[in-house]
């Protein structure tokens, strides 16, 4: 009999306390950032898709077309082509394609590159209408960034 009433008392008290918690939360500021009207700064360490590093002195890429990134990618999404131009001893990069629909952002290509020629971009709001829009031409992106 005593348990009947004590259960009612503790139960009722717990219900009122719970209501107090939500009532207090009613007046606290909202946590949501209403994107796209407000934006958050993205950390520079964020892993977007890879980009070629632009060397500020030489104003070109650092890639030597060794193909290590292409070989070590577990998802086979990088395609590289280097051509030996006239009068040059080493190969220059002609084609660098990234199939972003397969990339898993593991970072193996960035680490394995002997010249540190790859870095992560900070693109986080990519959207497109077709799958082909995500077959990035990284060399062209570098050309656009060149001054």
């Amino acid at each position: 009999m005593k348990q009947y009433f004590s259960e009612i008392y503790t139960g009722g008290k717990s219900l009122v306390e719970g209501l107090g918690v939500t009532f207090k939360a009613l007046f606290q500021p909202i946590v949501t950032v209403q994107y796209p009207r407000e934006e958050i700064d993205i950390t520079p360490n964020y892993r977007g898709h890879i980009d070629l590093v632009l060397d500020p002195e030489k104003n070109t890429f650092l890639c030597i077309s060794c193909g290590m990134c292409e070989k070590s990618c577990p998802s086979d999404c990088i395609k590289i082509q280097g051509k030996k131009l006239e009068g040059e001893k080493k190969k220059t990069l002609v084609l660098f394609e990234l199939d972003f629909t397969k990339c898993s952002l593991c970072g193996t290509c960035v680490e394995v590159c002997p010249n540190d020629a790859l870095e992560f971009s900070q693109e986080y709001n990519l959207a497109a209408f077709s799958r082909e829009a995500f077959h990035f031409d990284i060399l062209k992106r570098l050309e656009e960034r060149r001054t």
Binding site: I8, L15, G18, L19, V21, T22, F23, A25, L26, F27, Q28, P29, I30, V31, T32, Q34
Partner: protein, 327 residues
Amino acid sequence: METISILPPELIRMLIAAIIIISFLFLNAIMMGYLERKIAGHVQRRPGPMEVGFHGILQMVVDGVKLLGKELLIPFNVDRTLFRVAPLLSFTPVILPLLVIPFSEKLQARDLSLGLIFIVSMGSVNVMALLVAGWGSNNKYSMFGAMRAVAQSIAFEIPILLSMLAVVLMCNTFSLKEIVGAQQKIWFVFLQPVAFLIYLIAGVAETNRAPFDLPEAESELTAGFHTEYSGMGFSLFFIGEYTNMFIVASVATVLFLGGWHGPNLPYGEYLGIVWFFLKVYFLLFLLIMIRWTYPRVRFDQLLNFAWKYLVPFSLVNILITAVLVKL
């Protein structure tokens, strides 16, 4: 010149009142829907509807237009008449109790001398609508929801009646206008706090709101008895539920919180409606907060709660009231 009236003036008055009340119902559903979503948002630390209109005021209007435009799907192999009738059956009986509620001293559609019993009887028809919806959907999940709804509604009608009886014992009348009139000196909530609490809890259970929303338990039964309804059918259930909540809150206000009594206003006989709505919306705010705070009770625990806790307390309450009134 003598005016010839085709209809008796009393009937015209009632017709106008009925039209005003029905249009008020839709407005109330819109307001309550918006209020619920905003309060739910802020309790969860998010903004709620914000896009349409200033802070999302027009959201419910846009939702209504969307629901009107949807195709009324009728699933394969259902009982067509029952399937179509269920939303109408859920929406119509909840309009009638609003005709007897005194919004203010002179604003009442019709004052029946058995007003209270009329309201309770209309509430029982709601059960049938749920059962028809669940059976007519040809869906096991809906049938689950319907069966639970029947047991729940029948079990919780008794505490409602018993707590109302406590107030009736004090006033000697079933007419709502006289009950409000008898609360001029002191509201009944101070004389009968237990009955007020029991009435509110049982009212929440009657309208199938959380934490007693087993018929439409979203995470177990994927929307229960109204799984198969789309478009306007769904929104009729929706509006019916909000109107039911409004009726529960307004009957609680009339019986316990003193109806339209409040500090004096000019044109007090008509503007008493302002105090009435303030009290009703305070109770609705409480109901909305309860929904977004507590988890759901299990089905047999619900019936346990009704029979083992609410009924004994309300019986003892009536006994004490009867003894004290006689003295």
